[in-house]
């Protein structure tokens, strides 16, 4: 996802000098081409996320679309008040780009796991939170973000995420992208955990159950049209690589509650039960309650026979 993002941004930035890429000294081997080809649009601020975010806001106030790139918690939690006051309150066109969603940095440890970022950033006013599912969606969403001027949080995976989409989805702000149709319920996911949803749908199929699978990249602008028809069909399971509290599932529950929709919703998210456990992304997902098996179990538990 990160390579797709950088490549897409670079192609656009070649024709748009208003695009600026800032990094807090991260992106080795990822940002080099951008830096080489467009040095005047690239800034490595150093290891100083708080000053960098304030600087990005000031920079963006001059009419630039400033992308701030770093890993997980560094451009989000480390500099939260700069995002809150200088970006969101002032409504400056900054895009925060984090790589390493959820457990993508696996054995690097909890300091590098992004598990609370969605909850915190989606609580901020004016902030659009976007979680792409795969490289194909990342491309379209990056173009959509470039075209917008809203404060935005783009939460990327890392590298080598499988492609969930077979054809590029039509990107529209707040719209859920369905990957597979189904009649008995819906597996709704945000991020690269889509592979688990696809696997769970196949497993359910062997049990004679037909579920839709859909990617929900827009977390702060919820697709109520899709949700209302999905809830009529059957249970909706929301799957994310983030803490339960305040994540994508919470966002869906809040929206459904506000719109007074009826139906059954189950959440699959990290229970944060193993903060210090070492392992790769797949291992840590399972260890913290995010797995195909759990999705199938949750769906069957909610399904009305």
């Amino acid at each position: 996802m990160r390579d797709t993002f950088v490549k897409t941004l670079l192609e656009a930035a070649k024709y748009d000098p208003n695009i600026i890429l800032m990094t807090g000294d991260l992106g080795y081997g990822v940002l080099d081409t951008f830096q080489t080809e467009l040095p005047s649009q690239f800034i490595n601020s150093g290891v100083n996320e708080q000053a960098m975010m304030g600087m990005a806001a000031g920079y963006a106030s001059t009419g630039k679309r400033v992308f701030v790139y770093s890993i997980g918690n560094f451009p989000t939690l480390r500099c939260l008040e700069q995002i809150r006051n200088d970006v969101c309150l002032m409504n400056n066109p900054v895009v925060i780009v984090s790589v390493g969603a959820g457990y993508a940095y696996g054995s690097q440890g909890y300091t590098h796991h992004a598990l609370e970022d969605i909850a915190v950033l989606r609580a901020l006013p004016n902030m659009e939170v976007i979680v792409p599912a795969d490289p194909i969606e990342t491309h379209g969403l990056t173009l959509a973000v470039i075209a917008s001027s809203k404060p935005t949080y783009l939460r990327l995976g890392k590298s080598n995420e499988p492609e969930i989409h077979t054809t590029p989805p039509k990107i529209s702000v707040g719209v859920i992208n369905e990957i597979k149709t189904g009649t008995d319920g819906t597996l709704l996911f945000a991020g690269s955990v889509g592979v688990l949803a696809v696997a769970a749908a196949k497993e359910l199929e062997t049990q004679g159950i037909s579920v839709a699978v859909a990617s929900m990249p827009f977390v702060s602008t919820i697709d109520l049209n899709y949700l209302s028809s999905a809830l009529v069909k059957g249970p909706v399971i929301v799957i994310e690589e983030h803490a339960y509290r305040g994540g994508v599932g919470s966002a869906v529950l809040e929206a459904v509650n506000s719109a007074n929709l009826q139906g059954s919703i189950g959440l699959i998210a990290s229970d944060q039960s193993n903060l210090s456990q070492i392992g790769d992304q797949n291992f840590l997902r399972v260890a913290n309650g995010i797995s195909t098996e759990k999705i199938v179990q949750k769906f069957n538990a909610l399904k009305v026979n």
Binding site: A51, M55, G58, Y59, S61
Partner: protein, 273 residues
């Protein structure tokens, strides 16, 4: 000093008029930070009488000079100066901190012409101003950026992060003015967290440093003319300047002037200026 008067061209006249407004408005609003405002008002008066290229007609021009008051708690000083210089109606001052009024207790930018950044949490103004200065430098745009900070604010790590970045990128369009009144929230700065040797710290970060008497308009103006930046001007000031019972006292960081205090303060101003 009526609404029909012309903007001030002389910093001393503007500062004196602003001192009256600061004392009145904080009293009416029962607001804190009157001494912080009296400390910084001469710096702002110098900036807004020609040192900074900014006027009510230019607030949206891309090449304007940008003034950021990072010590957002001295909002009454900035509001008074901007109102007296006709950026917005002077009668807004009497409604400072009122429900649904434009002027809040910490510097508020939305709907207030001339205010560049909402501040109130310390350590935000310098990185933000740095971003504007860097954007201008990279695009070849004109206009300087003045960031007015408190000394207590220099406890914040962002100050020194930004100081390093500004020097690394040779931002000669960025000026920091520190209102060095030596008092912060609970007591004196040097008893809270030592800043000295303060000038040496900025110099060690690669800044050109000048220390000037912070209530002397001419010396402030001369120091601000220098463009071999990034430039840090340490303005030696007195908290509560101009009103003897407010000077150098932590109490007046918080206490709103009562009606009787206002009377006494106005007498002081007429004697001292």
């Amino acid at each position: 000093m009526s609404n029909m008067a012309s903007p001030f061209t002389n910093a001393a006249d503007l500062a004196l008029a602003a001192r009256h407004e600061i004392i009145s408005m904080t009293s009416i609003a029962k607001a804190s930070h009157v001494a912080s405002a009296l400390s910084v008002v001469d710096i702002l008066s110098v900036l807004y009488t020609g040192t900074a290229s900014i006027s009510p007609e230019k607030v949206s021009e891309p090449d304007r000079d940008v003034v950021i008051l990072s010590k957002g708690h001295s909002a009454s000083a900035l509001y008074s100066v901007l109102a007296l210089q006709k950026f917005f109606p002077k009668d807004w001052l009497a409604h400072y901190c009122e429900n649904d009024a434009p002027l809040g207790g910490h510097v508020t930018s939305k709907g207030v012409p001339g205010v560049e950044l909402s501040t109130g949490s310390l350590g935000h103004g310098l990185p933000y101003g740095l971003g504007i200065a860097m954007a201008r430098k990279k695009s070849g745009a004109m206009g300087r950026v003045f960031v007015v900070m408190s000394d207590g604010e220099c406890d914040e790590g962002t100050t020194w992060e930004a100081a390093m970045i500004a020097n690394h990128h040779n931002l000669n369009n960025l000026v920091v003015i520190v209102d060095r009144n030596r008092i912060q929230s609970l007591t004196f700065t040097e008893d809270t967290l030592k800043l000295e040797p303060f000038a040496d710290k900025w110099a060690a970060f690669g800044w050109q440093v000048q220390t000037v008497p912070g209530h002397d308009h001419e010396l402030l103006s001369n120091a601000l003319a220098s463009k071999t930046q990034p430039s840090c001007i340490i303005a030696d000031t007195t908290k509560g300047k101009g009103v003897d019972f407010m000077e150098n006292s932590v109490l007046w960081h918080y206490k709103p002037p009562a009606a009787d205090d206002v009377k006494k303060a106005f007498v002081q101003l007429s004697e001292n200026y």
